[in-house]
Symmetry: C2
Subunit: 316 residues, 2 copies
Amino acid sequence: MKEFELIQHIFKASSMANIEGRRDILLGIGDDCAQVNVPADQTLVLSMDTLVEGRHFPYDADPSAIGYRAVASCVSDLAAMGARPSFFTLGLTLPHSDPQWLSAFAEGMAELAEPIGLLLVGGDTTRGPLTITLQVHGYVEAALIKTRSQAKLGDDIYVTGVLGDAAAAVPIVTDEIIVANDLYDYFYERYWRPTPRLIAGMALKRVAHAMMDISDGLAQDIQHILLASNVGAVLQGNQIPISDFLRDWQPDNALTIALTGGDDYELCFTAPKSTREEISLITQTLHLPCCRVGEVVETGFSIEGYAGDLEGWQHF
Amino acid sequence: MKEFELIQHIFKASSMANIEGRRDILLGIGDDCAQVNVPADQTLVLSMDTLVEGRHFPYDADPSAIGYRAVASCVSDLAAMGARPSFFTLGLTLPHSDPQWLSAFAEGMAELAEPIGLLLVGGDTTRGPLTITLQVHGYVEAALIKTRSQAKLGDDIYVTGVLGDAAAAVPIVTDEIIVANDLYDYFYERYWRPTPRLIAGMALKRVAHAMMDISDGLAQDIQHILLASNVGAVLQGNQIPISDFLRDWQPDNALTIALTGGDDYELCFTAPKSTREEISLITQTLHLPCCRVGEVVETGFSIEGYAGDLEGWQHF
């Protein structure tokens, strides 16, 4: 079997390629195109992310962890729209064909993709420096989609989960800094296995106004909402959710890391004050950690109780 | 303006991002996801292709030519399904941000994408070795889609255009071989500006049985149809369409190059003998060069009048 066919075989054989019981997927891997019948009452949303070794994840990392995180980071964009995951494609550029690496990578992807109903339907595999491009697709009712431009004056601003762990984890998972085992384990998981807030996105879409996922740091990402919605914001520094691990390990820098660190893939959303009770009910029912961190104002951007530097992480 | 924003700006500003008048595209570039409303009577087809510099196109090539060819090669997969192009995404990994390069690249893409109604709706830009991942999307009626598995015993086998020019062009466009100006100009165009057979695919979908595009050489690609359809084929070596340029330049190797060379992005399709007249009418109306090159048989694969080596071009 030729190398190229082997790769196709691994992905086709993986249970992700099992399209039985999926009425929406008419053709999966193996023809010139995949074919999808989008449910009649739904619109299609899609997002593409490219991950380059040494830039978006460390060299020589565990392929299973790479696979899991690649799906998680991309799927987070679906969560931000309030969409239900449906299928994805994979553009994989590899320095050489290594069946063990590929199997582990495919398993890592499947570990997250399968339980959320995200089916691999196609892609391309080429030789070159390790680069992973994923495109994820989801379904959402046209009227319920959450964009960045829907924030309204007076809205509360919320974030899910805790912020900063993934950014703080980088020197730990790359072994630049050696820490105690429990710290290592915690941050390793936080870096490699972020939890895309899919259920939260779907549950909140009927209540929230604007919504987006935090991939480059709250302080930077929220600007996209403010710009698109033509509003301002005041955040409360002491309300920004931070894990005990991060606060204990970096007491002086925790807030800066939480404000500027990316890769946690939590959601930031705005909602009218009148929905506070409803949001509280949703987050309690879903056991979803969710903090009110500020308010939408007419113009400008400030963080009360914070005087640090807000240079966000730059992709390019 | 930061580099990353500059890139977004170039693509957003390009006329490809003009979604006015497009009822199917609800959200384009600029949010967490793009949003599409697939027309009610259509299914969505999609195909992803990755092109790596130095492997799928020469180093230091004209960025406008790279952009054109990237769209052409990917769109060819839509043609093979009989689909109408609708929108695409771009995962672009670049060693550095060069506005001139980017503008030329975007122009090259737009030159082909615009007239066929293929709108750029999203993507990702990262730093790294030059790698281009395109995902193209099209619409086709569920019942009319052309797959590789629909060939029937006794079908005629056709190919569009002429074969082998793009493969023969490689040493010419990389300046490994110096040829006369007219030859250079011809092969340069054939390599960099293949014509995806979109109109042909849409016109033939009501008549053809199996269809696919030829990207790795006819002799290799037709095996996919035979395998998927569980049939065999006999091709007539002297019916394989070859350009006068290729035949004059490489009289001894022309047929081998035509059978094994990829990247022409012509269509190969099968159709029942009863449709010969109809196919002739379609191809004449469209001024579409189209040759009957063989027949679907029960089993096996042979090429009458050819005794050469059939090692196809390997991607990986």
